[in-house]
Symmetry: C2
Subunit: 199 residues, 2 copies
């Protein structure tokens, strides 16, 4: 192995060990079976798998491999910035600066070309301007709705979230995938009808 390659590998290993911390960042929502709250790493895996099997509900021409890559990367900044509950509007406001600093620090552990690539993937996800980013974000919004619908309201009930608030998030799902948006809206209706989500 050349010294240059060895240096790159050392940086990649350091990065790999650092991002292990994502397994300890706990989200508000639980596993589908309600047994415990979910961490960011397993959540990211789940979204990657959902993208693989639901790809046909993305707009034609969407680059699925890029969607998967984006989903694996999308929460890494939360190692420093923490998970922010999307219905906590005050926390969401302060989050952007924290996440930018986290991206600088964490992606900055990689060789420069890879740091740029990771940052670009994450920026693209956050900006939600490409069909890949919109589809990725749609899945990120859909997953907790699935879990809460299955868990008699789950984190919605605990955090006093209403159907009106959840339906605002459905708009983001619809922008990434009309079919998934339609599906999410039905789950929310059903949760309201079952008394698991306040109207």
């Amino acid at each position: 192995m050349t010294i240059a390659l060895q240096e790159r590998l050392d940086a990649q290993i350091t990065f790999a060990m650092e991002i292990d911390k994502l397994k300890r960042i706990i989200r508000r929502n639980t596993l589908i079976d309600g047994s415990r709250r979910e961490n960011d790493a397993e959540h990211s895996w789940h979204l990657g798998m959902m993208a693989m099997v639901m790809a046909e509900h993305a707009p034609p021409g969407t680059d699925l491999d890029k969607v998967v890559a984006m989903l694996l990367v999308h929460d890494i900044v939360e190692i420093d910035a923490g998970d922010t509950y999307i219905y906590d509007t005050v926390a969401v406001e302060g989050q952007a600066a924290l996440e930018q600093a986290a991206a600088d620090r964490i992606f900055g552990m990689l060789p420069e070309d890879q740091c740029r690539r990771m940052r670009a993937l994450w920026d693209e996800f956050e900006e939600r301007r490409t069909s890949e980013a919109r589809f990725a974000k749609a899945l990120d919004r859909l997953a907790p709705i699935l879990a809460n619908h299955h868990n008699e309201g789950g984190s919605w009930a605990l955090n006093k979230v209403t159907a009106r608030q959840v339906l605002e998030k459905v708009q983001i799902i619809t922008e990434g995938s009309p079919a998934l948006g339609e599906f999410a809206a039905r789950l929310i209706e059903s949760s309201v009808a079952n008394g698991h989500l306040a109207p």
Copy 2:
């Protein structure tokens, strides 16, 4: 949405909810910080990320997107078959039949074309005949070595594993990536030198 598309989506959602169970399949090794044992879902995410950043250590022409897809899928059969410790040779023997049945049941929840695709990915990983499968398996073998090396022997010490046994696994890493094999061998030497792994 057409009825056919709706039926496909329903099957995909059922599959997505089923594979959530991978978050409860616990492996022998711990997180890098040693705080708790790792689950299969977060492990699969970690390997996907490692593939993304270590791609350059795979043989030229390796299809990285396929490696990532394979790694996300590779442990799903353990939802039914459970995690088998690679140094438990008796358990490893009975595992293949259980995993085949698990693949039939779990991938069988998907629309047929997708079931075939998932099964093909998993078969390719298990057979380790393509450079994608060999690189994916190399990362799967490298990850616990990283964690154990960092944790004063971690699951090796607990399970009375010796350097000779670990070095047999390094052969599999080298077949997927000579650079990663060389790196793993150095970690093992260092663990032996530190008294964290029996020679």
